[in-house]
Amino acid sequence: MSTQETALGDNTSDAAVADKDKPHIGAPVIEVDHLTRNFNGFTAVDNISFSVGRKEIFGFLGPNGAGKTTTINMLCTLLKPTSGRATLNGFDVATQQDAVRQSIGIVFQDPTLDDQLTARENLEFHAMLYNVPPGEREARANRVLGMVGLTERARDLVATFSGGMKRRLEIARGLMHYPHVLFLDEPTLGLDPQTRSAIWQHVHELRAEYEITVFLTTHYMEEAENCDRIAIIDNGEIVALDTPGTLKHGVGGDIITLRSADAATTVKELKDKFDLAGIVKPAAADTSGPAGDRIYLEVPNGRTLLPQILKSLTTEILSVAVREPTLDDVFLSLTGKQIRDESVDKMDALKTRIRRRRSMGGHR
């Protein structure tokens, strides 16, 4: 552990713990069979198949535009599949819309609360829309409000809530009708790290308490580690599907990152002196910028190999790091690119700005 970058090291050990006391995952509740969706010739989701078990926390991981939201929209009956079939809780998403909708709770990327109503009123309207018996509405509202820590604010207008409180209220609302599956589309996008970890705590709690399946999308690698299983999606296709641990194991040992004054020569030298031809990878954003001098090595035993490498290299090495693989490395090795490139970050910033503007706008 001593040579690891601490932040990443902590994450991996957390995931290992989570893997160990993972609750029993039941029979499939979502079954997706060769699902495809085209938009005017563009294939957003391309022939994907997978299934999700009861009580599972299932993550869809991929960059923006990979097809995550399109898949969710099809599973939520908002979009008709072009071809293929999907069932949710045994109901066909294309033909049994109402039964599917009654079985699911959804938290979209953008808030869908009525901010001129109070938190409790939002929950009440939801309960009415989903046919929750009148006698149970109040008790259920109290329960979900307590869970997300909003009991004190139940009588306040949603317009006065912060972004994190709104997201928590939406999660609470999604639980009002006791759904079998809760969909969370980028549940922590635009939230600060503290709120983000609070939301994750809620997700784990509600799985334990409500025995619910959670299907979420994210492009934060660190968050995907919270899932029981992850499907990595890129360009509308699932490129890998497994537990976070197995996926990371599949990368093959350790990751050595070298920064060199002359990357090209170093790569050549490495290839000549060590039998590493297949696993020397210059960084994805190799063309320009500060990442250009970085070299990634996937090696079976980094800690013993590193001293040998350093001894034999003649080019100047600026810095070195050895760490266990993260999901970032998994994504890199599967798709040849990093999940969060600059355009994604810009997109995030834009979305956060829009959210902020929306949450401030009381002018209706």
């Binding site: 939520c76 009956t77 908002l78 819309q97 109402d98 039964a99 909708r101 009654q102 959804i106 979209f108 953008d110 808030p111 869908t112 609360l113 009525d114 901010d115 001129q116 109503l117 009123e121 309207f125 939801h126 009415m128 829309l129 989903y130 046919n131 929306r358 209706r364």
Partner: protein
Amino acid sequence: MKPLRAIYIIWLRDLKRHFRDRARIVGSLASPIIFVFILGQGLGSTIGNNLPVGGGAVDYKTFMFPGILGMTVLFAGVFASVSIVWDREFGFLKEMLVAPVPSWSIAVGKIISGATIASFQGCIMLLLAPFAGVSLSPLMIAELIPTLFLVACSMTGLGVLVASRLKSMQGFQMIMNFIMMPMFFISGAMFPLANAPAWMDTLSKIDPLTYGVDALRDIMLTDVPSRYAFTTDIGVIILLSVAMLAIAVSTFSRQT
């Protein structure tokens, strides 16, 4: 029963929001009040009490009052139902669209809630009747309320239709200038159409508000005959409301 429940929920939510927003209630009454007091008194003082209508003569203030009621319902109704655009922009529409209820029930709910709000605003305006020289009997009021509601339904149907096409509130100003203002003036709300040029007369015949204002006038102005028979007015309004509702609902269901 599911659609009925959804209609009721949407109606309840819109009413809750409307009555919570006192500023909006007062604000939407401001312009009809200005019309009654300033335009009514101002124009009334030059035209006086012998405006020729259908062979008789009436006070201009009195003549204009039903027209102002029509205007109140037109603007309040379209504005209330165009709130679908706000709902879309602020996300709440999506919450309704993913619920296990048919999407046409959302459009119908919006039309009925908008009509309730608009006819409520119209009823408040009835309090100004004495200032316009209109004396209302309980029977008249009993006739006026359902008539106002019917007129409002055709207006909110139009509003939902517009909202299904409108992607943001920025386009609303244009709707206001190109649809609502002409509808209001051509309906004969402010002046008798008897001596109007032929093109205006023709346009007024396809303006739903013409029949609405005519029906309101028929109830309130007992001394002079109205343009069309009361039953004709109501028949046309019902027909237009149903047509507007059908188009609005199908447009709304398609856009989602």
